[in-house]
């Protein structure tokens, strides 16, 4: 009987005997691929791994506002976030130069919130104050304030941990 297909050059078969790109998932027996089969440099993105939370790190560009005054300039800024699954840890630092000031300071977050929550912030450069912060459900803003008069030109820091909508 004549040989059908590509005649193997040797037995057992070598990689050269198999046409590129023809081995499909159906030809691999379930449960046979093990950890050693995956190259350490494969770099499989987490979105392709079912059940594994995606992770992202970066910076963001918040918008700032002051309820009872105006912000003339902002410097000494540092904005970074880590998001694992739907959990976001956002760290914010800024020196707000204000022409006047009172009430809540509000800044936008890197991701939309899911659920109401609270956090603590500080004014670390002038009066050394603890600020209480809050954010609403389904929004992009976090606000922080403290009892008493607002210190102009404050240096603010806060870490906001929250759940995002997606």
């Amino acid at each position: 009987m004549p040989f059908i297909g590509n005649k193997p050059s040797a037995v057992p078969l070598t990689s050269a005997d198999i046409t590129d790109g023809i081995i499909t998932s159906a030809k691999i027996a379930d449960g046979t691929i093990v950890n050693a089969d995956i190259n350490a440099s494969a770099g499989i993105v987490s979105t392709k791994l079912s059940g594994v939370a995606t992770q992202e790190t970066g910076t963001w560009t918040p918008s700032w506002s002051l309820a009872g005054g105006s912000i003339t300039s902002i410097d000494t800024t540092a904005y970074s976030y880590v998001k694992v699954g739907r959990i976001v840890v956002a760290q914010v630092q800024a020196h707000l130069n204000t022409s006047s000031g009172s009430g809540a300071i509000t800044f936008t977050l890197p991701f939309t919130t899911s659920g109401n929550g609270s956090f603590v912030g500080t004014e670390y450069g002038q009066a050394g104050l603890i600020l209480y912060g809050q954010y609403a459900d389904n929004t992009t803003d976090a606000s922080m304030a403290y009892t008493g008069s607002f210190t102009q030109n404050g240096y603010f820091r806060a870490t906001v941990i929250y759940r995002s909508v997606s």
Binding site: E56, T57, G58, T59, W60, T61, P62, S63, Y81, A104, T108, L109, P110, F111, T112, Y132, Q134, A136, N138, T139, T140, D141, S143, A145, T147, V165, S166
Partner: protein, 78 residues
């Protein structure tokens, strides 16, 4: 800088923008009542497609309600 991801989230059509700058991510969010005149055309097009008057008014009403709730919290009345 390259905009590598634009997400439209929630019933308020908030636009989450992710940029890729020197292989690092930077994000920001656009709300329906924001000025988008300085945004890249690609972002403007999406905002304009998603934000009709109904969405804008709904968002403004929500923000107003959130502010009232915030101001009515006992801790904010001290």
């Amino acid at each position: 800088m390259v905009i590598d991801l634009i997400e439209i989230v929630t019933e308020y059509k908030l636009i989450q923008v992710r940029e890729l700058i020197n292989d690092k991510y930077n994000r920001y969010i656009l709300e329906p009542d924001m000025d988008i005149s300085n945004q890249p055309q690609k972002v403007k097009d999406i905002c304009n497609a998603e934000w009709n008057e109904e969405i804008k008014n709904k968002w403004i009403a929500k923000k107003q309600k959130d502010l009232e709730d915030y101001n009515n919290l006992p801790i904010n009345k001290k």
